[in-house]
Assembly symmetry: C2
Homo-oligomer: 351 residues x 2
């Protein structure tokens, strides 16, 4: 079972009869040696089964690992049940991969965000944080490691790059359009205010201490228009099923709301279903509005009125910021991406 030791740079150098530095150059600086020699080295390497410089050793020597970490607020399946997150992540991944960087995923555990130990051991030299609670331990862990960081949709941290959208403004926009068309009785279906898995109506106290920036802003945007006494139903995750249950609960009040404001499209899809469940019609009986404008919004039944934010762009931009930080760039001003209201067929004036 004495499997042969894996070949190293030295092995190859010895075999070809050149110095280790030259072999290294063959891989990293082709201009530093003659094409012929390089060819010879690469051939010998291949015949020895040498797959190129060891990434870890290289990282140690160069002091960067060509990897960006991604810290997530939730588990993977929960995260990706939400198309919006997938799209952002995809934008990030392709940007980063295009520059030969890997993506190190740190999914959230129970209490909002990855465990600090995970963060401490991750081989990444920049991290991107998304949908973490404002006080996530992972954030602290990344800081004490001195990792450059870019946050998406999160509160500013000193020395941190940031990309965000105007969640408050977007939500306000949506609510205003409904208000302007005559709606006066609203219900709000939101995703988590706190990372504790709560499902149900939201109390004022809970609202006041909201630990997710995005939730807070969207909620405040809605309530700013509809009034703070608007009933709010919290779902632990942004999922169709939970949205359906929440909407059903809100719609069973009397007088029944004439419009449902949802914190995400995913929740709105559930709301659409809930309206049908109760034998009512969208938008005749109830208007439903979403947030994100994921691709499915356009094909929903009926097509969903929603607040569009440039999701892929958000991921791509975060990726670029990360790469820039990696290059020693300064964080710079936060980038604010535009939102807009996309009117489709799930909203109409009340009867």
């Amino acid at each position: 079972m004495d499997r042969p030791r894996k070949p190293t740079l030295d092995t190859v150098a010895g075999a070809v009869g050149v110095s280790r530095a030259t072999v290294s150059n063959a891989y990293n600086r082709p201009d530093q040696l003659s094409a012929a020699l390089r060819e010879r080295i690469l051939e010998t390497a291949a015949s020895l089964g040498y797959a190129g410089p060891d990434p870890v050793a290289r990282s140690l020597a160069t002091r960067h690992s060509a990897a960006v970490g991604f810290m997530l607020g939730q588990g993977l399946s929960a995260s990706f049940a939400d198309a919006a997150l997938s799209i952002v992540l995809d934008g990030l991944a392709s940007t980063v991969d295009g520059h030969d960087h890997c993506l190190v995923l740190m999914p959230g555990k129970d209490k909002g965000g990855p465990r600090p130990e995970t963060v401490a051991r991750a081989q990444a030299d920049v991290v991107v944080a998304y949908s973490l609670p404002d006080d996530a331990p992972a954030l602290t862990a990344a800081r004490t490691r001195g990792l450059p960081m870019v946050v998406i949709d999160q509160p500013v941290l000193p020395d941190t790059a940031r990309v965000e959208v105007d969640d408050f403004g977007g939500a306000r926009l949506a609510a205003s359009s409904l208000w302007a068309s005559g709606h006066r009785r609203f219900g709000v279906v939101t995703f988590a205010l706190h990372p504790d898995g709560h499902n149900g109506p939201v109390t004022t106290a809970r609202l006041a201490s909201t630990s997710f920036r995005v939730t807070r802003d969207r909620l405040h945007g809605y309530l700013d228009v509809t009034g703070t006494d608007t009933p709010v139903w919290e779902c632990a995750r942004s999922s169709r099923e939970l949205g359906r249950a929440g909407a059903r609960a809100l719609l069973s009040a009397s007088p029944r709301p004439t419009a449902l404001l949802c914190a995400s499209d995913e929740l709105a899809f559930g709301a659409l279903q809930a309206v049908r469940d109760l034998g009512l019609r969208v938008p005749t009986d109830v208007s439903v509005i979403g947030f994100d404008d994921v691709p499915a919004a356009e094909h929903a039944d009926p097509p969903l009125t929603t607040v569009r934010q440039p999701l892929a762009e958000k991921g791509r931009h975060a990726g670029e910021l990360a790469l820039r930080l990696l290059d020693g760039g300064r964080p710079g001003e936060p980038t604010r991406l535009p939102v807009s209201l996309v009117s489709r067929d799930s909203t109409a004036p009340p009867k």
Copy 2:
């Protein structure tokens, strides 16, 4: 701008007045030094802003990186549009994270799987491959690096751990139940046979050279029952929208199929929609059957008959295999997880 150099083990050792080895032990082998000294070291470390041993250097010294790579056949958003994949990935991630390992994601590019360069540079010491074409370059790259590998739903490779489900048997099961209940005119909606983005009817030649094992097996399972002249529509990805379009195309044939066999639930959801689009009813006019049994299948309208495979289990098991390989374990026999037919309301005998 001369930011102070980051503290290292040596810095801390110097400050406390002990050897580097002792500081290392303070972190990795608390039993090797007195509790008091350990405490003192940790305190000093904290006050110096030392966040613990550098992961890269540690990996070099220990020769393992505490990370498992995950090679994917497609881009992230495409992947996660498919709930099945998310669930598998989530199972994998939690297993792996529970053992203090990171997940390095290598999403696929255009031509089936991550780029070989990406794989060559990934800091992982075991990789899991999922839904790659059988001949993906990433597979070769991982091999030449000598990385232990576990493949999910892919053909056996020498010296590779493997978890799989009986796709052929599952598909056969589904088709047989329909056949037994009297159906004779079928249509099949499948996801990609080749990583070339093709959408449309499938030719015999294309079918014969299918490069994804899963596709091949499910297809063959269906066609084994329904006959090889059954029309098959290929969708480039497993998405609701593409499934809808494909189903619509198949249903416009005359005579119209009385049953649609879909390679995934996601495609089946699209098919459900397509039937409605045409003013027909499920299952009265058309039966629809899926594959995977994702959570949404139960809540579809109507609830979807489908082939269940233990998705989370699959991911978890792959994770465990990966961890075992990391520990120097042998690949062992492939694990075959069970499939079963879950009958719900989307299937019925033909009129």
